[in-house]
């Protein structure tokens, strides 16, 4: 197991899973830990990258008192083994081969992880549809995959990346800090007439808010797919 630090509290783990069958971007991996006394805790993590043989990546946001995330983020050595199951899930997925419609991705905090797997899967899509990512974070220090997202947006004319800062913005940022708004989704997303497929992932409150805003803007609820992972966040 390799570990790569993404932010002060998030790390990417590269796992070697013999016999991994491959997966679609958006699918999960379940991790189960068993303590010496037999106590078990299982959690679901989004796969962060397309499959590379037996190598799979997850990005874990460490949270206070999180018994699984703390273990994964801090305690693992390269030779540690964890029990995994996957890939699982089939609804919150993007099919790189099957769809050429524009794709709008809206992430709150570590909700960017499955959306990053979709962005990283663009390389294999022919033709690759236009992608736009709107990524809401508290502050610049909370941006996961920051450098890679910037590089990809620079190199790939069909990928736009916009950061929304809710608490602290970097110097020179024109947009005032604040929660994501209908204007943000209009300005940095796709017009309704282009009928984008929309993936929204983040804390529950964020996902509810963004879904409501998108529907108010006129987007088809049937084309909005959501994934929620908790009550708090940016």
């Amino acid at each position: 197991m390799e570990r790569r630090r993404e932010t002060a509290t998030a790390s990417t783990l590269v796992l070697d899973v013999p016999g991994w069958p491959g997966h679609q971007p958006g699918q999960h991996l379940d991790v189960r830990l068993t303590a010496d006394d037999g106590y078990q805790a299982a959690r679901s993590y989004s796969l962060a990258a397309p499959a590379d043989g037996d190598r799979v990546e997850i990005t874990v946001q460490r949270v206070p008192d999180g018994e699984v995330s703390s273990y994964l983020a801090d305690a693992t050595q390269s030779d540690d083994a964890v029990e995994v199951r996957g890939p699982v899930g089939g609804w919150f997925v993007w099919n790189p081969q099957g769809d050429s419609r524009p794709v709008l991705l809206v992430a709150g905090g570590s909700g960017v992880v499955p959306l990053m797997a979709m962005i990283r899967s663009r390389d294999g899509a022919r033709p690759a549809p236009p992608f736009r990512l709107i990524y809401s974070v508290r502050s610049p220090d909370d941006r996961i995959y920051d450098q890679e997202l910037r590089r990809r947006a620079t190199e790939d004319g069909d990928l736009d990346v916009t950061f929304i800062y809710t608490r602290t913005a970097p110097g020179g940022e024109a947009r005032p800090v604040g929660r994501i708004s209908a204007d943000d989704l209009s300005m940095y997303g796709f017009p309704v007439v282009e009928e984008p497929i929309v993936y929204v992932c983040g804390p529950t409150g964020f996902v509810e808010r963004v879904s409501d805003l998108l529907i108010d803007l006129g987007h088809d609820p049937a084309k909005i797919k959501t994934e929620r992972f908790g009550p708090s966040g940016p």
Partner: protein
């Protein structure tokens, strides 16, 4: 649920792993009809609380309980009594005839 601290999910997407232990098909893409309000929704869109002591899935339309899922060391308990029907997409050539 304010102490909910893990990077755990809060909708039916999080049921994919536990359900895959016992079902051969991917069940979160199935569409369940709520026994209470009669509306249909994908299992992935159920509002889910959990994972400990178990998962409880609510209807995204009327909030009634659709399913409960509890994993113990030697059993999986699955209560689907809030769902009156489940539509599972199958390949067109899999009728077995």
């Amino acid at each position: 649920m304010s102490e909910r601290t893990e990077f755990a999910f809060y909708d039916g997407n999080s049921l994919a792993g536990p359900l895959s232990e016992v079902f051969a098909v991917e069940l979160t893409t199935a569409v369940g009809r709520c026994r209470s309000c009669g509306k249909s929704s994908e299992v992935a869109t159920f509002r889910v609380y959990g994972p400990e002591p178990g998962f409880v899935g609510h209807c995204p339309h009327c909030e009634d309980v659709l399913l409960r899922l509890v994993r113990t060391p030697d059993a999986l308990w699955l209560d689907f009594s809030g769902v009156s029907a489940l539509r599972i997409s199958m390949p067109a050539d899999s009728t077995g005839s």
